[in-house]
Amino acid sequence: MDATLIADLLYTALRAGTPLALCALGVLIAERAGVLNLGQEGIMLMGAVTGFVVCTETGSYSLGVLASTGVGASMGLLFAGLTQGLYANPVASGLALAVFGSGLSTFIGSDYVGSPLAGIPSLTIPWLSKLPLIGKALFGQDPLLYLAWTLALVTGLVLHRSRHGLVLTAVGENPEVAHRLGIRVALLRTLTACIGAAMTGLGGAYLSLVYTPLWTAEMSAGRGWIALAMVVLAGWRTGGVVAASYLFGFFSIFNLLMQDMGWSMSPNLLAMTPYVFCLLALIILSGKGRFSARRAPTALGQNFHAES
């Protein structure tokens, strides 16, 4: 393996991990406040198709990305309206969102399958991007990836180092007490549901505008579900979520590596590997033992109705 190949692998692995990281960060924010939204797959697909269609029609990447984020946020609002406003079962509401998003995105995108689009171009930061091995991977990526990293940093600071993070934790751990303390639980949960879904929508835009600049139905290929698992694996910590997502990004380009090493394997069996890795990771970390994950927010997925 030569240096160029390693540089390319790192570059691609970071791109593969970014949509997952964006979605997982969104899930993390919402879950810290106790909001369990299983509809990530549908939101991501809607984000992907919206970004692609808007970008194709207007020719503007920024508009596409904005639209994806907006569609994501509005799906989050829909979810919050059902679960926070009408006290609907969150598991079923999330599944409805997943089915609906998958159907609607396929419907909207049916005229755009196979239509060409140049992806968002990569930046080349002078001098730094010429560094051996890591230059291209760290300093020659697209602007959305750097936006994702910024968002990860902000998420980490807000969740773990600020008063707002403590308030969110209170809402996620014990909404009754938070309510008695004067925190507006439903409002806060609605807000985190929207922010979380907006980030998942952005992750969808990354898929259809950067990672594979095209639209095909179901192109998210389970990333929304994997992101939900990543948050469990990472024990609801920002650093862990980002690390797990990028580790996963690396695993998901395993097939490229294997091709290069001259191993041949059925593409279908290879396509299975991310899910198998995910299952194995869940087994290792969910069990009772040294590596066991930290526990979930106590009130995760429980509805709260302020009686007074």
């Binding site: 299983l38 549908g42 829909l78 059902l82 009408l86 006290y87 609907a88 079962n89 598991v91 079923a92 509401s93 599944l95 409805a96 969102l97 089915v99 609906f100 998003g101 998958s102 159907g103 609607l104 396929t106 419907f107 049916s110 139905a217 290929a221 389970g222 579900w225 994997i226 939900l228 698992a229 469990v232 059925s266 279908n268 069996l269 396509a271 299975m272 899910y275 198998v276 995910c278 299952l279 869940l282 087994i283 969910s286 069990g287 009772k288 109705h305 009686e307």
Partner: protein, 363 residues
């Protein structure tokens, strides 16, 4: 206006909410078609009425209802015990793969008599075993490793789909199939007999109905049904009563896996007649909506499955008549579940106008 918790759930709303949800879905559909520049009435007619206008259409509907009923029967057991098995799709696919593989092993023009019955029986048994194995993995991971069954069953769906794809591109591929990723066609002797000659509804539908009735009996007349409800309502109470939570977990998952696997084998031995990548139209997912819409009650499940099957067939019909993508079926299914979940608020809450002190006292 605000929502006020009812002293106890309103029974009439349990039945009214689905009706309300269906009406709202139809209204939204009308608006959607109008927005697409189509005249809503003919489209809705093509969606919901035309597919079942004649006996053939009804038979096709019952054909689609069969896998939905089987999966929904199993899922309703799981959901009653609050075991969120989202993996009926994967269990269905593994059942169809195993059932199909065994059927292909016996695929011979000269199959007849007791050998024929044995071969069909073996294929069906393999389908059930495949589905049970897949669901058993979920039970094992939850029981032994404490992994969320939602996540593991979803991951296994993707693994099962890729296994099926691998099989039809590899070991099960028809050598004379012009490189299409499909198995050979099964001989007629291996296919399930029709209920009525000339129509495609097969004996699986009758079996699915019987199993649905069995579900009703188990749910309301046996200790097992009671235990499932207690585990679902309160795990702590179930432990206190000495019910074995782990055993019930295994039981509902294996039962659901077996039923989904059976549905998968029936698809291969019934309408499809070979192993293809597109064996399921998302029956495993649609069945989840069926259970919610039908309230886990056998009659409700039957009605919901009929409606859900109609959206599948209607979607295909719209594709033929109006050139609309058939994914429109999933939009309707998602909408229906949204509206149902929203309408369900009225089961446990009542709307009161703020300041209405009488309602407050009575509440």
């Amino acid at each position: 206006m605000q929502l006020q918790k009812r002293a106890k759930p309103a029974r009439h709303m349990l039945w009214l909410a689905p009706v309300l949800a269906i009406m709202l879905t139809l209204l939204t559909g009308t608006a959607l078609f109008a927005a697409l520049g189509l005249s809503p009435l003919p489209v809705l007619k093509a969606f919901f009425v035309d597919p079942v206008r004649d006996a053939y259409g009804v038979s096709e509907l019952l054909l689609k209802v069969t896998p939905l009923l089987l999966c929904a029967t199993g899922l309703s057991l799981c959901f009653r015990a609050r075991v969120w098995n989202i993996g009926a799709e994967g269990q269905f696919l593994l059942g169809s793969l195993c059932g199909g593989a065994v059927a292909l092993w016996f695929n011979d023009e000269n199959l007849a008599g007791s050998a024929r019955i044995g071969a069909v029986g073996a294929a069906v048994a393999a389908g059930i075993a495949g589905g049970m194995f897949w669901a058993g993995l979920v039970a094992l991971l939850r029981h032994r490793f404490n992994c969320s069954e939602i996540l593991t069953s979803i991951m296994l769906n993707y693994v099962a789909l890729n296994l099926l794809l691998w099989a039809v591109h590899g070991p099960l591929k028809d050598p004379d199939g012009f490189s299409f990723p499909e198995s050979a066609l099964l001989v007629d002797a291996l296919l399930l007999p029709s209920v009525v000659d000339g129509y495609r509804t097969h004996v699986g539908f009758v079996l699915a109905l019987l199993l649905l009735v069995a579900l009703g009996v188990i749910g309301s007349r046996t200790l097992l049904g009671f235990q499932l409800r207690v585990v679902g309502e309160s795990a702590a109470a179930a432990r206190y009563a000495g019910f074995h939570e782990g055993r019930l977990l295994w039981l509902v998952l294996l039962a659901c896996g077996g039923l989904a696997g059976l549905a998968g084998a029936f698809e291969v031995l019934g309408p499809v007649g070979q192993v293809t990548p597109h064996l399921s139209s998302g029956y495993g997912f649609a069945a989840i909506i069926v259970v919610f819409l039908g309230r886990g009650h056998p009659l409700g499940i039957l009605l919901a499955a009929l409606l859900q099957a109609l959206t599948f067939i209607g979607g295909e019909n719209l594709q033929i008549e109006f050139g609309l993508p058939k994914s429109i079926a999933f939009i309707f299914q998602g909408l229906l579940l949204f509206y149902l979940l929203a309408a369900d608020v009225l089961v446990n809450y009542r709307l009161v106008i703020s300041g209405d002190s009488v309602a407050q006292v009575q509440g």
